[in-house]
């Protein structure tokens, strides 16, 4: 048996329960995803006269209702694909060190292996490969499902279900794996480690999400929401809106509504001058409605950024876990 095959076999034996749980979870999730995708495609194929199940087309109401009912369930699975990397990362990561300490095998392993860092690397690489392989299956299945729910979805330039159908799933899985290993190494017990790692993950990813939102705002453009000719809105990610004053300043709706100077005597705010209906007196006109969006074409960049940050976070956590293992007692 070659060294690699021996390493894989022993690593699999040592982490068999978490690998088994991960495989079972992914098999169930992707199985359901593919089944729903198949059902939706069959449904759509049976109604060639109804090209868009999400649009109102006379004569297609019954089809649209059935399709949307089914796709509602299917979209629930995409929420699961958002959570899958966190669950899998923690389940695979926490026991790597915590179980060795809890089971008192760390003393043997850390003296047989001259380098604890080398020992940890061997265990981590296996868990990371398992996570990447399984989460890649989730990415593929969720992409198929997303394409079935929205038949015309351009997967590579549409923010719909971002992080639930793309490679960000894999990157987040590796980050969660790193956090799991780190917390498991520090806590040294499996169940408390799992709970603590879940808590830490929530905090870390909430913080990262806020920071990413700020970063991605630099990609935003301001558009007129009523301008239906502007195709930039297709597949875009809305990140807020407000009113553009005649001075060119963009003011949020919250700021406008809390400031009386923008309101008429009835408290109304006129943001759009309508020549045809004459709804507003030009004297009380405040400004134009505007929304800020990140155009769909930026989707690959946003995913790449988020993936890079997640991978960086995972690498930091792996580094921290290595330090924790090097410095801690084996029991």
């Amino acid at each position: 048996m070659t060294g690699v095959a021996r390493w894989a076999r022993l690593s699999l034996h040592l982490g068999r329960w978490e690998v088994l749980a991960s495989v079972a979870g992914v098999a169930l999730l992707t199985g359901l995803m593919l089944w729903f995708a198949w059902q939706l495609r069959m449904l759509a194929a049976g109604e060639p006269g109804c090209p868009d199940p999400h649009a109102y087309v006379p004569g297609c109401e019954a089809f649209a209702q059935r399709f949307q009912g089914l796709s509602g369930w299917a979209q629930g699975l995409l929420y699961l694909s958002w959570g899958a990397p966190f669950g899998m990362g923690l389940v695979l990561g926490v026991p790597i060190v915590a179980r060795e300490i809890e089971g008192r095998t760390a003393g043997m392993a850390w003296t047989l292996s001259r380098s604890r860092a080398g020992w940890l690397r061997g265990r981590l690489v296996f868990a990371a490969l398992v996570a990447v392989a399984l989460l890649a299956v989730v990415v593929l299945a969720s992409g198929i499902l997303a394409g079935a729910i929205v038949p015309n979805l351009k997967l590579d330039r549409d923010f719909t279900w971002i992080g639930r159908r793309d490679w960000l799933i894999v990157a987040r899985g590796l980050a969660a794996l790193g956090i799991g290993v780190l917390v498991g190494a520090v806590v040294g017990r499996q169940l408390p480690g799992l709970l603590a790692a879940a808590f830490v993950s929530v905090l870390v990813f909430a913080g990262v999400s806020l920071a990413m939102d700020r970063w991605n705002e630099t990609l935003a453009v301001v558009i007129d929401p009523y301008d239906t000719t502007d195709l930039v809105v297709e597949g875009s990610l809305g990140i807020g809106g407000g009113i553009e004053l005649p001075s060119g300043e963009l003011v949020s709706y919250a700021a406008i509504t809390s400031d009386e100077q923008y309101q008429d005597e009835t408290g109304a705010i006129y943001t759009r001058w309508d020549d045809e209906t004459g709804r507003a007196d030009p004297a009380s006109f405040v400004g134009w409605d505007r929304v800020r969006i990140i155009p769909g074409r930026q989707y690959p960049l946003v995913v790449a950024r988020a993936s890079a940050v997640a991978l960086g976070l995972g690498a930091l956590a792996f580094g921290g876990a290595t330090l924790a293992v090097r410095g801690r007692r084996p029991a």
Partner: protein, 289 residues
């Protein structure tokens, strides 16, 4: 090459703010043979061994393994060491053979054939799951893994504690056999004196955090006698209660045996005497022969 393979200089280890596990240990174990590290529970035996393995950081002083400080260069120290932990734990999910494979993967130069041969001699089935082995068999597997490293120094942290007498004897037999065949140095900690008496060449008695005696077993036996009836004699180490409740006095003989009215001391009596004394003339003298 230095003749001293394990050394502790002014070693002190404190847990928390107040609990001292070791206080000013000076110890030098020469190359070759088996040294018994004997002492009561909480004497600091495990702490001392774990400091040599690099699991514990000295609070004061330091230790070396073949001249290498394990806290500064853990890999360098571990290259010289094989280690068997207290109540050795194996991986439940792995077979005995898997453990050998794992050791081969983790340790460059691990002698799988040697370890396997040791286990086969003992009739331990390689395909059997570690979970289903008896305590004695698990200890033997742990010992085989340590021996398979072909390390020049073996540190065994009370591996006999949970074994029945037959398993203890078998374990010691394998250990002495291997150490003598390979010319290795072993340090075996135990609080069961009778078990180590036959197997060990040297004796270290560790009191609470202090070395009380360090001597070759033969010398320790020859240089001590037992006085009965509570008679005060020169060189008395300590008095302690005998098995029938009588007062026994361990005496360190100044000269050759005989003519002093003392009967020969057993190793257990030597150990009991020093543990009762709480003082350590040999420790102050320093080095083992």
């Amino acid at each position: 090459m230095s003749d001293i393979v394990l050394e502790a200089n002014g070693l002190a280890k404190r847990y928390g703010r107040r609990t001292w596990a070791l206080q000013g240990i000076d110890l030098a174990i020469p190359r070759g043979g088996i040294t018994a590290l004997v002492g009561p529970n909480a004497a600091g035996k495990s702490t001392l061994i774990k400091t040599w393995v690099g699991f514990e950081r000295p609070t004061r002083g330091g230790v070396t393994v073949a001249g290498v400080d394990p806290w500064r260069d853990r890999s360098g120290a571990l290259a010289h060491l094989g280690y068997v932990a207290q109540s050795p734990a194996l991986y439940d999910a792995l077979s005995v053979d898997d453990h050998l494979e794992l050791a081969l993967m983790l340790r460059p130069g691990f002698d799988r054939d040697y370890a396997q041969a040791r286990l086969e001699q003992l009739g331990i089935p390689l395909a059997q799951s570690a979970r289903s082995l008896s305590g004695g068999q698990q200890a033997q597997v742990a010992l085989a893994l340590a021996l398979g490293t072909r390390a020049e120094i073996l540190l065994l942290d009370e591996p006999l504690a949970s074994l029945d007498p037959l398993a203890r004897r078998e374990f010691l037999h394998v250990l002495t056999d291997a150490v003598r065949a390979d010319g290795a140095t072993a340090l075996l900690s135990s609080h069961i004196v009778t078990d180590v008496e036959q197997a060990c060449d040297r004796l270290v008695v560790l009191g609470v955090g202090r070395v009380l005696l360090l001597a070759p077993v033969a010398e320790a036996l020859a240089s001590h006698g037992i006085g009965t009836d509570g008679v005060a004699v020169d060189g008395a180490v300590a008095s302690f209660a005998g098995p029938a409740g009588e007062r026994l006095t361990l005496v360190r003989r100044a000269g050759p045996t005989g003519g002093d009215g003392l009967r020969p001391a057993s190793l257990e009596e030597v150990v009991l005497g020093y543990l009762s004394s709480g003082r350590g003339p040999s420790a102050a003298e320093g080095r083992a022969a």
